[in-house]
């Protein structure tokens, strides 16, 4: 299989998988789960098979259809997208293992629809990762929104439908109202929307329009949850936990920050943007989001909502890192995508496992739960430490790079934000850890043990990955350094 066909196969495999899952679901649950497993394993095989080509500096690309002159559906694999695709496809397998445990343990309805839509969402994610131009990115961006809608509204009761409406409303209205005009503007300026190393807008736009266009992109990509377009993320927490774990800690939200990073690097160009004073606001907005979301997280009592606000803050880390516009920080941005993915998916898995085992959803209910669910809480601890950025977890590595980039750029705002948010992260995670491990369970609590084996297995794997990323991050750094090669 040539790398070019591999791109298409990576997008088609989950699509076919979705069909297979839908069909298999009519016969037996086990068959359906087998279909999911086969699909995700073959996806990993296809996507990770592209890695050597990328490492060697290859940039496979393919054009599927030219819709109008200058406007085509085309795919190109470059390091950022490769990383994102590898991450999403790898975690999908683990998440599928977890989902089986979670959905069965919870006796959820409509499991076939759930797994089929999940596969569809992955297909859209692959499309985003490999998109070769703005239009293709937009196409799959919208597809991802639509394919995750049934997952968010899975429960189907009135409250869920309301939340799902917020989810869809915010994401669609920002993308149609802001992202689309930004894309059209870019096409009319540059005559193309292809992602090109060094950007396509240099010399075609002046201050302050640069800042305006950047704003249209950043707020138009609602999935990045930069305040004030973050409302959909807490709303999306009504979804079953595996959805929150993979989609709202990895695929969907990362698609947002990934798209912003990619646009900054390949549409604007780092150097071009660095010289434009009007683009500096992005650092401030991201910093504001980080601090505010952390403060809001402090006050949350529901575990998943707390994690959601933590995610909002962490996403803006990536945005801020990208907006520092220095090579080290860009590498830090991509590292943080990975580190946060491992950490946050572990936390969500743990939250879901707690819910399956004990039906507990609130922070204060976690007293003494460490003794009942030691594996789960151990993983939760590792995830929380990674969020704070304590070594030896992955979160430390990415923060290190972002800080280094901030110092390089002498960006005091970024430096202070990182320090402040580290303190705030500690302030909302450490009490939970203390409560879970050292406080006594209230008398008369429900008897329960660990969550289903598959769920625990999955969360242990991601916890180990979080630790491992501290030590073995070389390939990622090597790959992502290619992005900023030749820039000062």
């Amino acid at each position: 299989m040539t790398p070019e066909t591999a791109i298409l196969v990576a997008i088609i495999v989950p699509l076919v998988g979705a069909l297979a899952i839908a069909l298999a679901g009519r016969f037996s649950a086990n068959l359906r789960e087998a279909a999911t497993a086969i699909t995700s394993i073959s996806l990993i095989w296809v996507v990770w098979g592209l890695l050597p080509t990328l490492m060697d500096g290859g940039r496979p690309s393919i054009e599927v259809s030219e819709i109008m002159p200058g406007l085509s559906i085309a795919f190109t694999v470059e390091p950022l997208g490769m990383l994102f695709a590898a991450l999403a496809s790898g975690l999908w397998l683990i998440n599928s293992i977890y989902s089986v445990g979670y959905m069965r343990g919870n006796k959820e309805k409509n499991q076939t629809r759930f797994f089929a839509c999940f596969a569809l969402a992955l297909s859209a994610t692959m499309g985003i990762a490999f998109a070769g131009n703005l239009f293709t990115l937009f196409l799959f961006y919208e597809l991802l929104t639509l394919s995750t809608y049934p997952l968010v509204s899975h429960k189907g009761d009135a409250a869920t439908v309301r939340s799902a409406r917020i989810y869809l409303g915010v994401l669609l209205s920002t993308s149609i109202g802001l992202f689309l005009p930004a894309i059209i503007w870019t096409y009319s300026l540059a005559g193309t929307g292809d992602f090109t190393a060094g950007g396509i807008l240099a010399g075609k736009l002046d201050d302050p329009e640069i800042g305006l266009l950047l704003g249209l992109f950043v707020f138009g990509i609602g999935k990045a949850a930069v305040m004030p377009v973050h409302k959909w993320l807490p709303a999306a927490m009504v979804a079953p936990t595996p959805v929150s774990a993979l989609l709202h800690a990895v695929a969907v939200v990362k698609a947002g920050v990934f798209a912003i990073t990619k646009i900054i690097v390949y549409v604007f160009g780092i150097d071009f943007l660095f010289d434009a004073p009007s683009s500096q606001w992005l650092v401030y907005v991201a910093a504001f989001t980080i601090v505010t979301a952390s403060l809001v997280a402090l006050r949350q009592t529901n575990i998943k909502r707390l994690l959601a606000y933590s995610t909002i803050a962490q996403l803006s880390y990536v945005v801020m890192a990208a907006a520092i516009l220095k090579p080290l920080a860009e590498v830090g941005a991509s590292l943080h995508m990975v580190a946060h993915a491992f950490g946050k998916i572990t936390l969500f898995f743990a939250a879901g496992a707690i819910y399956v085992a004990s039906k507990k959803t609130e922070v204060h209910q976690l007293r003494g739960i460490g003794r009942r669910m030691p594996w789960t809480m151990a993983a939760f601890t590792i995830g929380a430490l990674s969020m704070i950025g304590v070594p030896p977890t992955g979160g430390f590595v990415s923060k290190w790079y972002i800080l280094a980039g901030a110092f390089e750029a002498n960006n005091l705002v970024a430096i202070f934000t990182i320090i402040a948010s580290t303190v705030l992260n500690a302030a909302y995670f450490l009490p939970i850890l203390y409560m879970a491990w050292f406080e006594r369970e209230p008398v008369g609590g429900k008897e329960h043990g660990e969550a289903p084996f598959l769920a625990v297995l999955a969360l242990c794997i991601t916890a180990i990955l979080t630790l491992a990323f501290f030590l073995f991050n070389g390939p990622v750094i090597e790959l992502e350094s290619q992005v900023v090669k030749g820039l000062n």
Binding site: V64, L71, F138, P181, I184
Partner: protein, 496 residues
């Protein structure tokens, strides 16, 4: 002459002559097969003509061998070909799917007459499109209108009758206005042939009658095209018509009037009235914008499925008119593309409605509970066509929205405001489409109701096919775009 040369005439004659024959068919059940065959032949002719046009030919046909200024001629250019595809395609697709729905709504004895009226409507509509003679357009317009009054009133819903009566009144007034306008032009030029009119109007010195004619024709056709605020006949007529008739008419009937309107205002009046395009733009743009916004807002609060979609149709007519009012190649090709794409999206939606209506008698949104579990395929098709209506990328609807926005950007200083309006109305479309989706997917089924199942296979397959086409033409839109582009070039530059 080879067969191709006769096709423009056959395009009209085939359905017109098969209409009376259908009535004679025995047994009664054969009527559907006959009508469908005739519609398919029309569609095939339209495709052949389109291929010829794409090849670079412009076909002219002189009826009875009498040459242009004296005899009646038919002409097929790019815009004509596009409209022919829409009209015959909508009719063929609707008829292919129609049998189960028609069997349910119309008694077997009356079916041959019904199908015969259908074919007459079809031949009237294609007649309008191919006619190169202003008076012939009037005659064909009345043939199609009279036949569609019958079609709309043919269903079991008694509320269709007052709706049709209103439509008849407004339609006749519109057609009569048009006739007055044509008369005035004839007075000044002494010809009815449209190309000839265009040529001779240039020499007319006293332009007052031409101005009046332009007024009458524009208003008359705007009435027929349901341009806001002359749209009041649409919601009731579409809502209470038999479901398959709605599919057919919603996809093409008002568009044909719009097509004539654009022809007159771009090609004919331009010759006599200097800057008429600009006047037309100043007249059309505010109406288009108001129509888009008001009709979308009405749709957002409408509780009846078909009426909601009918309101949306009025907004979509606004889009087409908006594109035309830019007076640019970009704008007109956006309009022409939207003619095609909207027919595809709205046709698909009304087909899905017909599927739903097969099982649900009451089409108010609040009554559609449980549809998604009982009719999953129908609902899926509905969602796809709904996305196309919104203009989500990857669907046909996106293509024309993209073109329209680009044209708006190129239209001058107000471009950004227009873009904002288009985007705002897209968001309104999200709201009204999603109200339906939520009703289909999340309303609990009514208690004590007999469990309903999917619509009949025949209806379902065609509906699914149209949904797939919405995606296909979103990814590979070359054919309609080529036609739309050459049509736009012809309209803007053909006069110079």
């Amino acid at each position: 002459m080879d067969l191709l040369a006769h096709l423009p005439a056959l395009q009209v004659i085939v359905p017109m002559l098969s209409a009376p024959l259908i009535v004679l068919l025995q047994p009664r059940g054969l009527a559907w097969a006959g009508a469908t065959a005739s519609a398919l032949v029309s569609f095939a002719i339209a495709i052949t003509l389109t291929l010829a046009v794409l090849d670079g030919q412009t076909l002219e046909y002189a009826m009875g061998g009498w040459p242009a200024p004296f005899g009646i001629t038919l002409a097929v250019d790019a815009l004509t070909a596009l409209m022919l595809l829409i009209v015959t395609g909508a009719s063929a697709v609707a008829l292919l799917a129609a049998k189960p729905s028609i069997d349910q709504q119309i008694e077997l004895e009356r079916q041959p007459l019904f199908y015969s009226a259908w074919l007459l409507a079809l031949s009237g509509l294609v007649g309008i499109v191919v006619a190169a003679d202003a008076f012939n357009i009037f005659v064909f317009m009345e043939i199609s209108s009279l036949a569609s009054y019958i079609l709309i009133a043919g269903g079991p819903d008694r509320r269709a009758l007052p709706a049709v009566f209103k439509y008849l009144m407004m339609g006749t007034i519109g057609a009569t206005f048009y006739l007055i306008g044509v008369g005035l032009i004839y007075m000044m030029t002494g010809t009815l042939n449209m190309a000839d009119m265009e040529a001779r109007l240039g020499d007319v010195t006293d332009i007052n009658p031409v101005l009046v004619a332009a007024g009458f024709i524009t208003i008359g056709l705007a009435l027929k095209a349901a341009v806001f605020p002359l749209h009041v006949w649409v919601p009731n007529a579409y809502t209470h018509a038999p479901h398959m008739v709605t599919v057919f008419l919603a996809a093409c009937a008002t568009k044909v009037a719009l097509y004539v309107l654009i022809r007159f205002d771009y090609m004919i009046f331009q010759a006599a009235l200097d800057g008429h395009q600009i006047q037309f733009a100043l007249f059309a743009m505010p109406l288009a914008i108001l129509g888009i916004l008001v009709a979308s807002a009405v749709a957002m609060f409408e509780g009846h499925l078909k009426r909601l979609l009918a309101s949306s149709s009025i907004a979509q007519i606004g889009y087409i008119l908006l594109g035309a009012s830019f007076v640019s190649i970009a704008g007109l090709s956006a309009s022409a593309a939207h003619l095609f794409n909207h027919a595809l999206a709205k046709g698909g939606l009304f087909l899905a409605v017909a599927c739903l209506a097969y099982q649900y008698r009451d089409l108010r949104l609040s009554q559609l509970g449980g549809a998604s579990t009982r009719m999953p395929w129908t609902c899926a098709a509905f969602v796809v066509c709904g996305l196309s209506l919104i203009g989500v990328p990857g669907t046909a609807g996106f293509i024309s929205k993209w073109l329209l926005i680009n044209a708006a950007l190129g239209s001058g200083a107000w471009g950004w405001a227009l873009v904002a309006i288009i985007l705002l109305s897209s968001l309104m479309a999200v709201v009204y489409v999603w109200r339906i989706v939520e009703a289909l997917y999340f309303l609990p089924p009514k208690e004590g109701e007999v469990a309903v199942s999917e619509a009949p296979m025949q209806l379902l397959i065609i509906t699914g096919l149209v949904a797939v086409l919405n995606i296909y033409f979103g990814l590979f839109p070359q054919v309609p775009l080529d036609l739309a582009n050459s049509a736009a070039v012809l309209l803007v530059e053909g006069t110079k």
